[in-house]
């Protein structure tokens, strides 16, 4: 039984981190209708920020989280201005914009790889290898802190979206871009800000990832498929859906990993994706049938 609870808690903690990783992606999709395949690559960029801050100056990754978020948000603004602004302004969001994010992902990977080589890295502050014991249950502190912080950030995001004027603007733009513009919302600014926030969330998630997983530039390919399964299961454009899907799938994957084998735990996400496409393509909370 304690083994069960242990796996459950681990699954939930990782679910929190995945939810954070996926929420930025969902936010950008909702506002700009672009599936940002470069999101995981930018998460890894955030991980590198935390890694080098720790290695060079001994800065704890959790402390470097806000800085990574700010740095990545600047990267996000630049990316938006250079690459995505034109796409976002055009009336139709096409698959070409997804391919564009794909090419950005390759550029980010290439840049990171050239600068930092392909060596596997992991940040190792003390708590990354520590654990706390509650009775029989063994909880690694690294995962625990990452999970709790992720939840905190997601809650913050939810509050901003529901109650702030800017949150209204984002929700309006997500639900009906034309109507929002006609009511005075500067949709281009909203897109820019949402993109920056989304990438900032990626940076934040990256700092947490840096001590929970080992990473290297090419790892983002694995993350793309995992995050995508969250977004599809949750429903494109629904942050709540992504968060729920993250917890659900992480817990299932944790059990699969514990009972069947760790190679197969990642399969859980990919198989879930296919099952959802078969059974309920719009996911839990998505718009049906499908956006073209």
């Amino acid at each position: 039984m304690s083994n069960f609870i242990q796996v459950l808690i681990l699954g939930l903690a990782l679910g929190g981190v995945l939810a954070l990783m996926g929420s930025g992606l969902s936010l950008v999709f909702g506002v700009m209708r672009i599936v940002n395949l470069a999101h995981p690559a930018l998460i890894i960029a955030g991980a590198y920020v935390a890694y080098w801050a720790f290695k060079l100056w001994g800065v704890d990754p959790i402390v470097s989280l806000p800085f990574a978020a700010i740095i990545l948000s600047i990267v996000g603004i630049l990316l938006y201005k250079l690459v995505f602004e034109r796409e976002a302004k055009s009336a139709k969001y096409s698959e070409m914009s997804v391919l564009l994010t794909f090419s950005v992902a390759m550029c980010v990977e290439g840049a990171l790889g050239s600068a930092f080589t392909n060596t596997q890295r992991v940040t190792s502050p003390g708590y990354a290898t520590d654990a706390i014991f509650i009775g029989d249950i063994f909880i690694p502190t690294g995962q625990l802190y990452a999970g709790l912080i992720s939840l905190g950030l997601i809650a913050l995001l939810a509050l901003v979206l529901k109650f702030s004027r800017f949150g209204y603007a984002i929700r309006a733009t997500t639900q009906n871009r034309e109507a929002a513009e006609l009511l005075g919302v500067n949709v281009n600014l909203v897109s820019l800000a949402s993109f920056a926030i989304g990438i900032a969330l990626a940076g934040a998630a990256g700092t947490l990832v840096s001590f929970v997983f080992s990473f290297f530039p090419a790892k983002h390919w694995e993350w793309i498929a995992i995050l995508m399964s969250l977004v599809v299961l949750g429903g494109m454009g629904s942050i709540l859906g992504t968060v729920i899907a993250a917890f659900l799938l992480s817990v299932i994957a944790a059990f699969v990993g514990a009972w069947i084998g760790s190679t197969w735990s990642t399969m859980t996400f990919f198989l879930a994706l296919f099952v959802i496409l078969l059974v309920r393509p719009q996911g839990l909370f998505g718009e049906k049938p499908e956006l073209t």
């Binding site: 794909f102 996400f269 499908e290 073209t292």
Partner: protein, 340 residues
């Protein structure tokens, strides 16, 4: 203002909105090119041109795959980022049979293609239920699943793969069978693309790519068309995979199922012009040449990936219709490149 005047003016207004058609084509060019390619290996009598043959062979193999991808991605508008799954299916099917029973993959290629095509059909029945971004995502997930499966399946050698016997020809002529196989396959792929484009099927696909809902309400059986396009494109890619394995004398997941292969297919079509017949071939030539230059100057490292990403981004932003497409749009397409 008079009723009949208005009606006439309306008709003229509508006629003005319709655009004309461009019917220039130079069939002699691809045919001449083909003839040249068929005789090229004769250079081997004069010296060691193995590198050149390899380059042409390599380009031809990608021309097949890119043309195959184009049928789904260019004609129907469904972007697949995981098409190398069929490359692997074809490669492994033919490769395993070669390893166990000694049957040449060149003979097996059509069968391997068929197997890949059937897989494409089945997979398409599932993944083509969704459109746009969700479909792209599913194609990525597909390649990830395939990678894990192939890496862990002992029967096909797992992550280490299976070594294949080389053919018995001398160094001077060893490449020849594969060379001709790929060149003929490329011609076949181009021919298939052309025939599809000029058929009712192709028209339906184009309608689907522009506006699927309207296509459906116009009576087109979109599901059948899409799945068929998927299957045909898988067939072509699978055939290429079959021969590629034997050419490399090795089948291994990290040859067939790396992201670079699928990126190349997509990039070639984008750079060349997706939706055109000549586009994938033009794109294949460009990318192969670019790659050679990059590897020669920068080395096969992460910078290569950065460069590929940049090329793709530039192509998508500045000429999304590709070389052939953009030239055609501005009515500057040289006739030799108009294979549509």
């Amino acid at each position: 203002m008079d009723s009949s005047n208005v009606i006439e003016a309306r008709k003229k207004h509508n006629d003005n909105l319709a655009r004309g058609n461009d019917k220039t084509r130079a069939t002699w060019f691809p045919l001449t090119l083909m003839a040249l390619l068929l005789v090229l290996p004769a250079l081997q009598f004069l010296g060691n041109y193995n590198y050149l043959l390899h380059m042409v062979l390599f380009t031809a193999s990608y021309a097949v795959m890119a043309s195959g991808w184009n049928i789904l991605g260019g004609f129907a508008g469904y972007i697949s980022l995981g098409h190398n799954v069929f490359f692997a299916i074809g490669g492994y099917f033919a490769g395993m049979i070669l390893a166990r029973y000694g049957v040449s993959t060149i003979i097996l290629a059509p069968v391997a293609g068929l197997v890949a095509g059937i897989a494409g059909y089945l997979i398409g029945m599932i993944t083509l239920r969704v459109r746009g971004p969700s479909f792209i995502i599913s194609s990525l997930a597909l390649v990830m699943i395939a990678r894990i499966l192939f890496d862990n399946w002992e029967f096909i050698g797992g992550a280490n793969g299976v070594a294949l016997p080389a053919n018995e020809l001398t160094v001077q002529w060893a490449k020849l069978p594969y060379y001709y196989a790929f060149v003929i396959m490329a011609a076949f792929a181009v021919w298939v693309s052309y025939r599809i484009k000029h058929s009712k099927f192709g028209l339906g696909l184009r309608a689907i790519s522009k506006d699927e809902i309207k296509a459906e309400s116009a009576g087109i059986n979109t599901r059948f068309y899409k799945v068929l396009a998927f299957a045909i494109s898988a067939f072509l890619v699978g055939m290429a995979g079959a021969v590629w394995g034997e050419y490399l004398t090795y089948i291994r997941p990290n040859i067939f199922l790396i992201i670079l292969v699928s990126v190349n297919m997509v990039l070639m079509c984008i750079l060349g012009g997706k939706g055109t017949v000549a586009g994938p071939v033009v794109g294949a030539i460009f990318i192969v040449v670019f790659n050679e230059i990059f590897v020669a100057t920068l080395g096969a490292s992460e910078i290569n990936i950065l460069a590929t990403g940049l090329i793709m981004a530039v192509a998508l932003i500045f000429f999304p219709l590709g070389i052939v497409g953009t030239l055609a749009k501005h009515h500057r397409l040289p006739k030799i490149l108009n294979w549509d």
